[in-house]
Symmetry: C2
Subunit: 346 residues, 2 copies
DNA sequence: CTGAAAGCGCTAACAC
DNA sequence: GTGTTAGCGCTTTCAG
């Protein structure tokens, strides 16, 4: 039961008794075809189930309507929410997605991977890998050789690149200021891994908010996790012993905050009365933690759709005007959602 | 600062003073090239930064080393874990991924989407959309027209298709049998949406285990959610009122189980002493729920890598022997992980 | 309105 | 060993 192969434009032409060019005109909706001829060709197309080859088209038009997407850590919810936004906006904009997932966040030797994408004639590249350590170092040496627009997600702003990210610094401030307003004033912090740019920003936001309130943020008031709930548990235990009179904690993501809530339950530390807790990310599950978790929501799906809109724009611009490309930096604002875990007099 | 365009094989040939054919031999590692010539060509390649066009190759070789992947619900963790497995195995097998995400699980009118993929000359298609309602109906009418192998994830077994799924029925049994062993015997069930094949299987497993223990499973002993924590809350409240002396509950996924735990906390129902709870999926966070959640782990990443191995195999087979393809059904076995939420005498 | 010729970037099948 | 010819499936001139 082997399915038959795809028909070609030639076969359609023969079936309709015309040349391939005329068929081409029909499938491209060109006006200059006699109605009668058009109908005959359309019929042949339908009968044969003909579908033009996007490959052949890409080759000749030097344009594939394909975007290369490089991601990492799809098994975590953050990157997949972003990919979700990318995928739906790409569909809407008429682009296909060629997907590559890095084995690790700090994968080196990016060049061959990028070459694979380019060998497929992608019209643009979306670099959806967060900035970790110097995993973006290749940009300085290799970017000039990339002949198509490229746009980055979640990396530090720099004026020579196009970047879309979330304002993590603001998020850290929002979380901490909220805790201060609630009357907590010995606020600890569990950060993500500090080789992540995003972690450092969130931590800086925490420090800034404390500083503004005239509170010193000592190193003993923070601990470092790796985003996982398991690491959150360890970090929280460390914090409990380092910062005895801590009355609140701003946690770098919701997963780690979850373990904070668990340990609090186990150790009969009442949340929020004895300990205020605020997370980051806005997971769909956070309202169902116990107690429901106050968190800083970042709309990663919007991040993804924004990045697609921007790169499509860049592609159009690059193709028409040949002038220098202006790089744009877009910073999406996260939003604090207050729930029981941080509200003292409820 | 416009980057220069990709060099072609012709330019390399001219630079090295040979014909394109000889360059082709070099980039394909063919043996019959004089060492001296090879070196000269290689140098030209390096200098120009030449990379062969995979597009042109695909066209002539009638083979793209690209897999079409159709998914849905990437913003949920399940589909992305599967995609994670697909991506890493595809990389290992030397295939690229062309990704399409359906806007909804029950999207109709699949044909144009599949055509887009085929117009890109994918060598095979992975249908990673769970079976919901009759969203797989297109298979009967349209599959014959698809000229490449196609393989399905999470749909009911049928011998005329290649399918990889998780044994959800077994999972339901494992969960329920465990609760029975723990001495619970009034076991309710919160299912996923019953138009999902997976939901029905899990529920059937629950029923079968109860039946074997000589216990009737009444309709009032179950409630239906939609996988979300929010729906889990509603379903659990319904169950509490319908099934007054329920002493345990098997929940169709971990997210819904999370709300069960929350409501139990709120209502001072002690888990596990008054109520045993078992979830499904094996989320990384489940050990950090309170109390830690017993759950049925399904390895979705393995599901993804298995499906890629299978389709690559199918592709090879289709290309060589022209004989009929045998369809294979692979059912991965889920594993029960026992934690505090279901252990009575701990 | 329609067709013939050329070619996108590459490789298969032959020559030499 | 290396070059020539042809052509993958399509579109772009440019004739007619």
């Amino acid at each position: 039961m082997k399915a038959n192969k795809r028909p070609t434009i030639k076969q359609v032409a023969k079936a309709a008794g015309v040349s391939t060019q005329t068929v081409s005109r029909v499938i491209n909706d060109r006006p200059d075809v006699a109605p009668e001829t058009r109908a005959r060709i359309q019929k042949a197309i339908d009968v044969l189930g003909y579908q033009p080859s996007a490959l052949a088209r890409s080759l000749i038009q030097q344009r594939s309507y394909t975007l290369g997407v490089v991601t990492a850590g799809l098994k975590f919810i953050g990157p997949s929410r972003t990919l979700n936004g990318i995928a739906s906006q790409a569909e809407a904009s008429g682009y296909m997605l060629l997907l590559k997932e890095l084995p690790r966040f700090d994968t080196e030797n990016i060049e061959p991977l990028l070459q694979t994408l380019l060998s497929r004639h992608v019209d643009g590249v979306i670099w959806a890998v967060p900035e970790v350590g110097d995993n973006h170092r290749w940009v300085d040496t290799f970017l000039a050789k990339v002949p198509v627009p490229i746009i980055f997600i979640a990396m530090e702003n720099r004026s020579d690149l196009s970047i879309v990210n979330c304002d993590n610094y603001l998020g850290g401030r929002l979380a901490t200021e909220h805790l201060l307003q609630q009357g907590y004033n010995r606020i600890g912090h569990i950060s993500g891994p500090l080789d992540w740019w995003e972690s450092r920003e969130r931590k800086a936001g925490w420090q800034a908010a404390l500083a503004e309130a005239g509170i010193d943020s000592l190193e003993s008031h923070c601990a470092e996790g790796n985003w996982s709930s398991a690491s959150g548990e360890i970090a929280f235990r460390q914090l409990l012993s380092q910062y005895r009179d801590m009355d609140a904690v701003f946690v770098g993501n919701d997963q780690m905050a979850l373990s904070v809530l668990q340990i609090a339950s186990r150790n009969r530390i009442a949340v929020p009365s004895q300990l205020g807790v605020v997370g980051f990310d806005g997971l769909a599950e956070a309202p169902y933690y116990w107690p429901p978790l106050t968190t800083v929501i970042q709309d990663q799906s919007l991040l993804g759709s924004t990045v697609v809109r921007e790169i499509v724009h860049l592609i159009e611009k690059t193709r028409s005007a040949d002038g220098g490309i202006e790089h744009k930096m877009i910073s999406l604002k996260p939003v604090l959602t207050v729930r029981e875990s941080s509200v003292r007099n409820s």
